[in-house]
């Protein structure tokens, strides 16, 4: 750690991990409700658990991105953060707003929450992932703008690198496209069309710039490969991301009342979306193979390689599985979508944030380069437990999805939705059990922050 103000990131990362635990617990509740329908009913209905599960995911990833930015930007810009106090202030505002919103989801009926927050004045609630009360959404905008200002001013007064520039573009895009959350016409088709300008242009657009920048930073630090090489790769990867991903948004416009030309545009461009992810995998392994030094923080390198592989599998391969319009006609809105969503988010965004934490947290806690062997091996165990669990969660949901599609939509005698749900319950059970193993992995992950802390740092043979 070269600059004192980088330490701001520590708080953000601690909050991120805490909220991650909450996300997984509510995921397990939902998974249970899939097989035991009345589990916790009516105290925590499924829609509430899901809202908590998905909103916590978004919020903790945002905490992660912010923490990563606060750590990375001063080091890249070679200057202290513009206003550390602002970063601390925004942290507490964001955490308080997030906690209040989640508690409100759990403690009052959603309709009551809509009423007391005066949703009718500017109705934005009740849409998937954008369930937050309008006042919370305004709070998010304020926090993100203050954060962007802080990061932008830091870059402006210091060295301008490609990594921090790409990161800044990603974060700016995140702020800009979130504004579409405030557009909610009665016309459902238009509502859905622009809802995707938040959701798709985030996760299949600007967030990938953030991912690319963080990954580039970790690779530069751990491999010692020439910055020029890594930056060239970064540019070409994010170029492919946006060239395919912007019009690739058409894969959401097949069946929602949009013109049928989208079936062509969406299929062709989104079929190309795996390319940047494949390039990212090739690049990550390439950089590690061409390393100029052996970095003793092996687990950070593991996360970096892991995110490249898992993002390719989850976002690239599992996305491609159902992205072509003739396939999507049958799979749209089934467990296939859920399967893809889980592995893509884990691979692309969860793992990169955990990777950044893995690289930077030891340094913020006073280590020279990395944690002890003991801490690192524990963290590696958590890496494999969580990653393999997620692979199996995805496989079980895919199996459930294929059966669902066949029984409900493809066979000669299609069955009712609920009848089909009963028939595929076995796979939901398997998913739930695998989810428990994921939770164990997460507990091991947290344990790795406490166990082995008093042992000396891991060392490594210098590269010959």
């Amino acid at each position: 750690m070269k600059y004192e103000s980088q330490k701001v990131a520590k708080l953000y990362f601690i909050a991120a991990i805490g909220l991650f635990v909450g996300q997984i617990l509510f995921g397990l509740i939902m998974g249970m409700q899939y097989v035991v329908g009345d589990f916790l009913f009516p105290e925590i209905p499924f829609n509430v658990a899901r809202m908590v599960h998905t909103n916590l995911l978004i919020v903790w990833l945002l905490f992660g991105f912010m923490g990563a930015s606060y750590y990375l930007v001063p080091e890249e810009a070679e200057t202290e953060l513009f206003a550390p106090w602002l970063a601390y202030l925004m942290f507490w505002i964001f955490l308080a707003a997030g906690a209040a919103t989640v508690l409100a989801y759990l403690l009052v009926p959603y309709a009551t929450l809509a009423e007391v927050t005066m949703n009718h004045l500017l109705p934005t609630m009740g849409r998937e992932f954008l369930e937050q009360p309008t006042i919370t959404k305004i709070g998010i905008v304020i926090v993100v703008l203050a954060f962007l200002f802080n990061i932008g001013m830091t870059i402006l007064k210091g060295r301008k690198t490609v990594v921090s520039l790409v990161l800044l573009m990603g974060l700016t895009g995140l702020a800009v496209f979130f504004l579409f959350a405030f557009y909610n016409p009665t016309n459902l088709v238009m509502d859905k069309y622009y809802w995707w300008w938040v959701v798709h242009l985030w996760v299949e657009g600007v967030w990938e710039l953030i991912l690319g920048a963080i990954l580039a930073f970790i690779l530069i630090k751990t491999t010692g490969v020439d910055r020029e090489v890594i930056e060239k790769w970064l540019y070409i990867i994010i170029a492919m991301t946006l060239i395919t991903g912007i019009v690739g948004m058409g894969h959401h416009y097949y069946w929602i009342g949009t013109p049928e030309f989208w079936q062509w545009w969406g299929s062709i461009f989104s079929a190309l979306e795996p390319i940047p992810f494949f390039m990212m995998t090739v690049y990550a392994f390439n950089m590690v193979n061409r390393r100029r030094r052996n970095h003793p923080n092996k687990v950070a390198v593991l996360w970096a390689l892991g995110t490249a592989v898992m993002a390719f599998l989850g976002a690239g391969v599992w996305g491609f599985l159902h992205t072509l319009a003739p396939v999507n006609y049958y799979t749209h809105g089934t467990q296939i979508t859920a399967a893809h969503g889980h592995m893509a988010f884990y691979g692309a965004y969860v793992m990169i944030v955990l990777g950044m934490i893995s690289y930077s947290m030891p340094l913020m806690r006073g280590r020279e380069l990395c944690n002890s062997v003991r801490s690192q091996s524990l963290e590696m165990w958590s890496f494999w437990l969580m990653t393999i669990s997620m692979v199996f969660i995805t496989l079980f949901l895919t199996a459930a999805g294929i059966l669902q599609v066949y029984l409900q939509r493809f066979s000669d005698n299609p069955m009712d939705f609920m009848v089909v749900q009963d028939k595929i319950a076995l796979f939901y059970w398997l998913r739930e059990i695998t989810g428990l193993i994921f939770l164990i992995g997460l507990i091991v992950y947290i344990a790795s922050f406490f166990i082995g802390q008093d042992e000396p740092e891991a060392t490594v043979e210098p590269l010959k």
């Binding site: 309709a111 009665t186 016309n187 459902l188 946006l242 006609y329 009712d416």
Partner: protein, 144 residues
Amino acid sequence: MAQAFTKAMARNIFYGGTGFFFLVLLALTFQTHQEWPELDNRQAINDVVTLGKQVWEDNNCVGCHSLLGEGAYFAPELGNVYLRFGESTDAIKGFIASRPVEGIPGRRSMPQFNLSEEELTAIAEFLKYVAGINTAGWPPNIKG
């Protein structure tokens, strides 16, 4: 990558490609707006449907159901529920109004939302409006 391919070239592809395809997106969006009046059943939108969408949102219906395939996959698709329920708004209202408060032992059950008669009518009319949207033949069958 070959040395002939420089960082400046990669950067230019990024800016050029992003700018170009964002313009393509805007053009396709413009064309979409042109075609919407024929597709999105906007003539069916009135004050009741507007209230219906509000009821839909204020009760987070999308937290369990999908609507035109988007939302959660815990409960049936509702984009075509009006058709599945025999084109009867009364059937939709009756179903929502009759959900048991304590649920059904061991099974998934829709919560009792205690909607007023006006809200019940509105949500049913909203779902009727949605069923009239031209979705290019989706879903494949009436089961949703």
